[in-house]
């Protein structure tokens, strides 16, 4: 960040167990928010009484990330619902932020800005989505609203797998020297790595599931049907219920409480690409990158943090589909555009590689409650750089980067976090 600006610290947080089906448990939004907030504050070593006390001087605010509760649970005005969690939130400024699957990144960005500006000393970010309230086909239609619904979603069965299937097609067209089999095998490997990583994550949705490279590359079978062009079920992220909380705070709060060894947000990037997939592809003609605005978002975050890809030890990316993780590899700068398969084949991005992506399983392995994913990524980076990631800890992680996208890589959000120098 630029000189003279005050630092934004990450105090901690928590995520819910993404394996849970809240409808089956007979619980809804209120229970989800209560559990997530209780655990999140505990993870940040705060109490409801702290919130109450901070609020007396208007020093705390809440930022709620959620995509489309209006559809999934018939509810809007989501910022106000924290008052149902605990009376400590009476009077606390709170609002909902939305940018499809990047919703909680907007919440994080706003929270960080309010802390940096000195408006608040503590900013609580909670991202959540309950998606298992409806059947797959209906949920898929709801998610179509993250694209240009009238033109890309309405009346189409599962629009998003189709859009990211088209991204796969476009990738092959853009890089004619890229062998199709090599590409599809790289996508299968990406899936297998995410599932494998999820096995080490006690809160991952797929931690008990079976997936192998061989199963992932055998597409079009009964257990791995095609869902969007050349992409199969194994190439998709999950339908997930869940919430993630991260608490940010100011330098003043850190000093006041004598808190030690908390990471800071070192940089961010936020860019919006053309909404329509077709226009997005038309727009990349002059670029080596399939998603030039995604690449630009990463570059912005590197510039703001003063870091390069060489300084980053751990990566969180938005693997809503294997084709989006594939594109992210070059966007991060891990390979040249068109050569992403190299990082997959060499093991560079696997858990034991030197540039691991999604050590906790990502959206494919850990799960994807859409409005929570940005906050979940930030939380996972926090765990990595504070060496509290347990079995999925990446050795020696000092700096981490996350890419959270909304729609078909329309909203692009990147945060770089790390230990203070």
């Amino acid at each position: 960040m630029s000189e003279g600006m005050s630092k934004v610290y990450i105090l901690g947080g928590a995520q819910t167990d993404f394996e849970r089906n809240w409808k089956k448990e007979g619980k809804g939004m209120i229970a989800l928010l209560k559990e997530a907030m209780t655990d999140g504050l505990e993870g940040a070593e705060l109490t409801f009484d702290d919130v109450k006390e901070l609020n007396q001087e208007n020093r705390v605010a809440c930022f709620v990330g959620n995509f489309i509760a209006e559809k999934y649970v018939d509810q809007g005005h989501l910022g106000a619902f924290l008052t149902e969690v605990d009376s400590a939130f009476y009077g606390v400024p709170s609002a909902r932020y939305e940018a499809a699957c990047a919703s909680s990144s907007v919440a994080i960005d706003t929270a960080a800005t309010k802390v940096r500006s000195g408006d608040y000393d503590v900013a609580i970010v909670i991202g959540w989505e309950l998606m298992k309230t409806v059947e797959t086909r209906v949920g898929g239609d709801y998610l179509g609203r993250a694209a240009y619904y009238e033109r890309e979603g309405k009346g189409i069965n599962l629009p998003f797998p189709k859009l990211f299937g088209r991204l796969a097609d476009e990738t092959l067209m853009k890089y004619p020297e890229l062998d199709e089999k090599r590409y599809m095998d790289a996508l299968a490997k990406i899936s297998a790595i995410n599932y494998e990583n999820a096995k080490r994550n006690p809160l991952a949705q797929t931690r008990k599931w079976f997936m192998s490279y061989r199963q992932a590359r055998t597409r079009g079978t009964e257990t791995n049907p095609l869902v969007g062009g050349r992409l199969a079920v194994s190439d998709c992220s999950q339908v997930t219920d869940g919430a993630a909380v991260v608490v940010l705070c100011s330098e003043k709060f850190i000093a006041e409480r004598g808190i030690k060894e908390r990471p800071i947000i070192k940089g961010y990037g936020h860019r919006t690409a053309p909404l329509l997939f077709e226009k997005k592809m038309g727009d990349n003609q002059g670029s080596e990158y399939i998603l030039p605005w995604t690449r630009q978002t990463v570059l912005d975050s590197y510039r703001r943090s003063g870091l390069t890809v060489d300084d980053i030890d751990v990566f969180e990316t938005h693997d809503c589909f294997t084709s989006s993780e594939y594109a992210a590899i070059s966007a991060f700068g891990l390979t040249k555009p068109g050569k992403e398969y190299e990082a997959v084949e060499s093991g560079l991005i696997s858990f034991t590689g030197s540039k691991p992506i999604n050590p906790g399983g990502g959206l494919i392995g850990c799960g994807h409650p859409v409005g929570a994913s940005g906050a979940r990524m930030l939380l996972d980076l926090y765990k990595q750089v504070t060496k509290t990631a347990g079995e999925y800890q990446v050795n020696g992680a000092r700096n981490g980067i996350m890419l959270n996208i909304g729609g078909s890589a329309t909203t692009n959000y990147v945060f770089v976090i790390g230990a203070e120098e």
Partner: protein, 434 residues
């Protein structure tokens, strides 16, 4: 441990098939699927594939029948026997396996509670050390519990390697247990379930089976009420487990393992449960396609509609759970003086005590009780239950007041004082529906 080839004996049974799926998928092993009838074995293959949702394992599954048993065993690094729960059948198969087993190979039985030591003695002396009890729960794809039992003959190095293989490669939650009837999970689980069945008889004039299930339903930390679970497993299996425990163990809860007369009668009539088209419950389909759950009424001996019981305490508990206010839910339970709340609370308290007591006797650590109940039954595990209740009540006092006779027989105070905090999150297990 390098296990590339496995033989599973008894794949036409549900458990054998599902375990074969685990070896072929997570274990990535070639699996000889052995059954008595080759045609039935062939028909089981697609079910095995489906059990782990992966077509890709199909090429790992090789059907075989008992004529090829020795051949399959001789080619295997691991042999898993999942035949009928009958010591004579198992002994006969073990003798055949023992003669053909490679010197470096491991063999195991999936028995849910027969004597592992007795089966081990069917093996040649030099191979007895390679034989273990490996007890998984159904369906193993969803329930990760694996009870591992050794005998006095067991080779320690082999045991350690097997444990590692089950944990790392097959992703099992391995709980080490003694060679004791029904091991740990079923001992605790069926103590609860069988006592619930006895209570159904005791309270038959209040409704019996559905009454008890309504009193200790999903809002008490489980996906399925206990008697619905018995119906799901089958009364014959239930009876075999509790009869085995009753005949071969003795502890303060001995009489709670007596299988009730009315249930004995149902077994004799072939009314075993879901698998036989009816047992404690029965799904009735009407001509218009409507389905309705019926229940066996113990006092009349006839099936009738399930009664949608509403008890004030459970109704309040469910509402608190729905809103994520778990502590308030427990307050409703502890503070309510109705007969139903008293039965409910007693069951949960006895569950905590019996689990801790049995974990010490049959397991090797108190946490074993938590692992078996969470990973084998999907019930709120006992330490987590204790922790959850402790937020609102003095649990040792509640227990002492209600069960002086248990407190006289065992040192309840010590068990509770030594109880450690659970690694499981109790909130997940308490459901508001059902």
């Amino acid at each position: 441990m390098d296990i590339r080839t496995v033989t599973v004996v008894g794949v036409t049974g549900i458990m054998g098939a599902n375990v074969a799926g685990i070896f072929a998928s997570f274990g990535d092993a070639k699996v000889y699927c052995v059954g008595r009838d080759i045609e039935k074995v062939k028909r089981a293959i697609p079910r095995i594939v489906k059990s782990v949702r992966a077509d890709v394992i199909a090429h790992n599954l090789i059907p075989a029948d008992f004529n090829n048993l020795e051949q399959c065993v001789a080619d295997s690094d691991f042999v898993f026997e999942s035949s009928k729960e009958d010591i004579r059948v198992k002994s006969e198969i073990a003798t055949r396996i023992g003669k053909a087993l490679k010197n470096s190979a491991i063999s195991a039985t999936g028995s849910s509670g027969l004597s592992i030591t007795e089966i081990a003695e069917c093996y040649p002396e030099n191979m007895r050390g390679h034989f273990f009890g490996v007890h998984m729960f159904n369906p193993p794809y969803m329930l990760q519990l694996c009870e591992l039992a050794s005998t006095k003959y067991s080779d320690e190095e082999m045991y350690a390697k097997l444990k590692e293989y089950l944990r790392i490669k097959l992703h099992r939650i391995v709980v080490e247990v003694r060679d004791s009837p029904a091991f740990l999970g079923n001992r605790i689980g069926f103590q609860f379930i069988n006592e619930a069945l006895q209570y159904a008889e005791k309270y038959k004039d209040n409704g019996g089976i559905d009454y008890i299930d309504a009193v200790i339903g999903p809002f008490t930390g489980r996906s399925m009420p206990p008697l619905a679970t018995s119906d799901f497993v089958g009364l014959d299996v239930h009876k075999a487990i509790v009869d085995n425990i009753y005949a071969n163990t003795y502890d303060y809860a001995h009489e709670t393992f007596v299988f009730p007369d009315f249930a004995q009668k149902l077994v004799e009539e072939g009314k075993l449960g879901r698998k036989s088209g009816g047992g404690l419950y029965r799904l009735v389909e009407y001509d218009n396609g409507r389905r309705r759950q019926n229940v066996y009424d113990i006092s009349t001996g006839l099936y009738r509609d399930v009664i949608p019981y509403i008890f004030p305490f459970s109704d309040k508990m469910k509402r608190q759970i729905e809103a994520g206010d778990y502590h308030k839910a427990f307050e409703e339970l502890v503070d309510n003086c109705s007969q139903e709340a008293e039965i409910c609370l007693s069951f949960l308290l006895k569950y905590i005590v019996y689990s801790l007591y049995t974990a010490e006797k049959v397991g090797y650590a108190m946490e074993a009780a938590d692992d078996v109940m969470a990973a084998g039954f999907n019930w709120c595990p006992p330490l987590a239950m204790y922790q959850a209740m402790s937020y609102v009540a003095d649990v040792p006092v509640l227990i002492k007041k209600r069960f002086p006779e248990i407190c006289q027989q065992i040192d309840v105070e010590r068990y509770l004082a030594e109880a450690r905090s659970s690694k499981y999150d109790f909130r997940v297990y308490f459901k508001s529906g059902g």
